[in-house]
Symmetry: C2
Subunit: 426 residues, 2 copies
């Protein structure tokens, strides 16, 4: 059985020179971090190294000093570049040998596609002495689990669709068996429509209180365009005690921040909006100008969104606003395309065109060009029509570049729909 | 002057516990990697560590063994959590002292906003003995540059808007002075509409040839949904020689892969499509179903896209296809919403509605639900109308989950528009 008495800390090492360029990030670590957090295993560090024997070995040796669990992703492919198996075996002093049952399963995988296994793939059947083989349902390279000197070392392939189910299986099996009794519990609150510093100000008195309790609740605040996240963590041997305390803390925080909180369980704004729409039996339509389809793309990113997403018009130029949405030309000439009367007319136009109960219109200046002294880059007008409520329309000033302005505009539009639906439900 | 004779390798250490969770990635490293690559400095590894004194120190010590240049981001704030300055000074054995001119400049920064500097911010004025101070135009924490024992150590703040201009200044100044004469040069080719293995097969003979030349050209292949990238790199003291060889290699590769190559200078597909549209004086309109606005959102992500993006309809349900795009109900009943006749009718409908010269329609099954034995999840039909050409329509089978299918569908639609415009230009 395991020589690891209580797994508490982990480190992730992603192997692959392509992850060191300017276009790719190691995203596997996000999923792994979340699953480890679920087990109360704390991530101490994560690293990316190129396909270099010495660099991989150095990172691995150092990780062994710091942590109980080391998870590698990548470098298990069949080519000479794929070094993880060899380096790990070498550092631990374990001989490698070919596992015939793995060879057979790789051969079968190729055969199912009517292909013959290239000889080079035999490399993927190498197993360090004493390692357990982890099934990889979505690829040729199996994973490996090594128990060594009080450490757990896991080798996983690189592609996310292969890694994720393997991590799930690990967390439900070998890792679950190795965690101690004192675990880490977490809670989150997501906030929209309010600045990080304003959220911090409201939450600060609670932070200080929790920090002095036993065991303390630790807090972290994170901001991204249009969203602020509050994360609470507690380490406690008593699961029920931890969960009760976290729930109370979350409730206190929710009260302090108020209705700007849109999610207390990690769900995204597009999911929350979707649920409100389903609950009311409403369909939603949008008329997007500066966001160019971003709002709809986010709403439809949710599986099952076809229950409530009806249609949208991207009216990127004035003619489209006039021809398709029937915005009066005179209105645009008098107030400009980025104005409250035009936003309302766009929303009315898309509602008339589609028959959806909820209509959203966004018109603004995303930049870098197009700004004026009275309507600088970042000026965005949002109009929303909801049954039995007066039209909502507001002019926002967002900071940042083109992409940030567009992201914030789509986020603000969804958040306002959420608030209007919430208040109409009362 | 610098004791670093020739800066060739670098490592980035991002400091911050918030970067170890499941929601945040260190994105600064992408920008830094790109700028370092421009100077021919190779990134050996990058790491993320939490706000922990021992972990930061360990990562730093190890980085010093491996590389010439160590760049820290984050951990320069004013609070007790911000440890980078102290740990670096400690590891290098350099005393820290308060720099009065930094205190003054932070005080002035606060004063400009009508505020008094909180006493805690004095921490940000601590400077290790002998370090150079790097101006931070967008924040209170200045950067620091330390030359120590043949190494260059750079401390930068965490927020991207503060880091990026500081990296630019470093690359134009201190780093530029320290790089040797032998530099790294790069070229890229982006490919769409072809699998990674098929591109690899076409490129393989060239790879082998280049690897044996002096100096060798190294190649990397990267795949993401709907896109394959070929990266060529060469390390050479002679700039002109390197560039000529890279250009020839790029041309050979372009010939081998053919018209699936859409970019040889790093430009994205949406930019290339935009240029073709501008060159022909065409406007584009789209009718999107399963992609829900994603195609338009990408096209309009390009600054200046208002020159050619006209309008789009997101017809997420059948009624929207019938009411707005005038797709005959009988056509949907006979062939299904995901079919070539319906895709063509959607394209015709959006062209009639908008008057745009180029019309694109996408209808498909993104999943996870909605698949049938004859039309499984991943089935996507794309139709494109271009003046003076017969209608293009094709049924694609994409693999992967909802998000991957949507991404590939938008990418394939843009790629087909590119091909049709390219061929019509001949």
């Amino acid at each position: 059985m395991s020589s690891v008495s209580s797994l508490r800390t982990a480190e992730i090492i992603a192997v692959g020179s392509e992850l060191l360029g300017s276009t790719r990030l190691d995203t596997n670590s996000l999923y792994i971090a979340e699953r480890l957090a679920g087990l109360g295993i704390e991530l101490h560090a994560k690293a990316v190294v190129g396909d270099d024997r010495a660099d991989i070995a150095a990172m691995f040796r150092e990780a062994l000093v710091r942590t109980d669990l080391v998870i590698f992703t990548g470098g298990l492919g069949p080519t000479d570049d794929d070094l993880t198996r060899e380096v790990v075996a070498d550092v631990l002093g374990l001989p490698l040998s070919i596992d015939d049952s793995i060879v057979k399963s790789i051969e079968q995988r190729f055969a199912r596609r009517g292909m013959k296994m290239p000889p080079v793939n035999v490399r993927q059947a190498q197993v360090p002495h004493g390692a357990e083989v982890l099934a990889n349902p979505n690829g040729t390279a199996p994973g490996l689990l090594i128990r060594h000197d009080g450490h757990l070392i896991v080798l996983l392939p690189g592609p996310p669709r292969e890694v994720n189910p393997m991590i799930d299986a690990l967390c439900a099996g070998p890792l679950l068996e190795c965690i101690g009794t004192e675990r880490l519990y977490r809670a989150r609150l997501f906030v929209a429509g309010r600045s990080e510093s304003s959220v911090e100000e409201a939450a600060q008195p609670l932070y200080s209180k929790w920090r002095d309790e036993t065991p303390p609740i630790a807090t972290t605040i994170l901001a991204s365009p249009g969203q602020v996240e509050l994360h609470l963590t507690i380490r406690d041997p008593d699961r029920e005690h931890a969960q009760v305390r976290l729930r109370h803390a979350q409730e206190d925080l929710h009260r302090a921040v108020g209705e700007d909180v849109f999610s207390t369980d990690g769900r995204l704004l597009e999911e929350i909006v979707g649920e409100h729409l389903v609950a009311r039996g409403y369909r939603i339509a949008a008329a997007e100008s500066c966001t160019g389809g971003l709002l709809m793309a986010r709403l439809t990113d949710v599986p099952g969104s076809s229950r409530y997403v009806h249609a949208a018009v991207v009216s990127y130029d004035n003619e489209a606003k006039i021809d398709i949405l029937k915005v009066p030309r005179a209105l645009i000439e008098q107030h400009g395309a980025v104005s409250e009367p035009v936003a309302v007319a766009m929303a009315e136009g898309v509602r008339a065109l589609t028959g959806a109960e909820v209509a959203v219109a966004i018109t603004g200046i995303a930049g870098p060009g197009g700004g004026t002294p009275t309507k600088p880059v970042g000026t965005v007008v949002i109009a929303i029509l909801i049954p039995e409520q007066p039209a909502f329309v507001r002019t926002f000033s967002f900071v940042g570049g083109r992409s940030m302005v567009r992201t914030q505009a789509a986020q603000a539009a969804m958040d306002r729909v959420r608030r209007l639906l919430q208040s109409s439900a009362r």
